[in-house]
Symmetry: C2
Subunit: 191 residues, 2 copies
């Protein structure tokens, strides 16, 4: 199949945005394996940030994640936080991408997250054996990186300025939503 994004196509912000919004199962209709292999770690982090932006545009928390196969660098799952959109008490970027990926052997994958993982997601990442986690923002939040490393997960920090700016702006404008996402409504509505 001829695809829009192929060996000769440039890697642009528009290309990364189209990838972010395309359902994972339909990605082969948008880009071929050659193009996928040319996506750098920074490009994949930008896709996670563009998913965060999608969530923000929907009125939700701006956190996104992308999972790739380490050998082929194909995207096997992606998603974003849906606290607001799905009235969902715990679906973060990482859980969303893993739900999208399904019952994979995560030991063969790398997960890119636009924000440092919360404790629940960090526990899920090492329990499911994700081999490598790339974190796009340790400025607005951090803390679980040592836990992940102690559990044998390779952790890299690769900050994305657009993602950091977007999350900082969201948190300043929505402190209760930020807190609820991390701690639940009980944290924001204590009598």
């Amino acid at each position: 199949m001829e695809t829009l994004l192929n060996a000769g196509a440039p890697v642009t912000e528009a290309a990364l945005a189209a990838i972010a919004h395309m359902p994972s199962a339909s990605l082969p209709a948008l880009m071929d394996d050659e193009f996928a292999r040319r996506l750098s770690d920074a490009d994949l982090m930008r896709i996670a940030v563009l998913l965060a932006r999608k969530s923000h545009d929907e009125g939700g928390c701006p956190i996104g994640a992308v999972i790739i196969d380490n050998a082929t660098r194909r995207i096997v799952g992606k998603g974003h936080n849906t606290l607001v959109q799905e009235n969902h008490p715990y679906n973060h970027g990482e859980t969303s991408a893993m739900r999208d990926a399904g019952r994979l052997d995560f030991g063969r994958t790398t997960l890119f997250t636009s924000l440092s993982p919360c404790e629940v997601c960090a526990t899920l990442l090492h329990m499911r054996g994700v081999s490598r986690v790339v974190v796009g923002d340790v400025t607005n939040a951090s803390g679980t990186e040592p836990l992940l490393r102690a559990k044998g997960v390779e952790v890299e920090i690769l900050e994305d300025p657009q993602g950091i700016e977007l999350y900082a702006r969201f948190r300043a404008g929505n402190p209760e939503l930020d807190l609820e996402d991390w701690k639940g409504l009980s944290a924001t509505h204590r009598p």
Copy 2:
């Protein structure tokens, strides 16, 4: 509205089975508040076990959970593991019931789980501030109870013999599924 299960109706296994299978949003069409108040902790645990049985009948892992409001004892969420049914890498009984409940103040709720929580679920339970967790099986699995207590969650053990027998039988017949549910495919397919 006149309901099948009301102040005068007996609490039978058939009644608990109907409650287990009814979508949470439709429970008011099945039972009234008087009946809900008469359900004991053991009855609620049996509902969690009947959800585990439902999952098992669907070919899935037999683990279920129920969440009630502490003041009214109304059921506000329930569900079961969907590893097999949804090809879902981390949806356990507890996560399923919390997803069903939505963005509640879990500080006002008790969660009944048919099996001792895994580390991911235990972390989720204390991060979202669930006030009380009742565990129906520490025979087939256990270990996160001290973590929960250390984080301020009230933990009670209330074992259900039917649930313990069901899970033991499942694990004996499906050791790889049991392992995958806890550790992911990477744990079962190490080269």
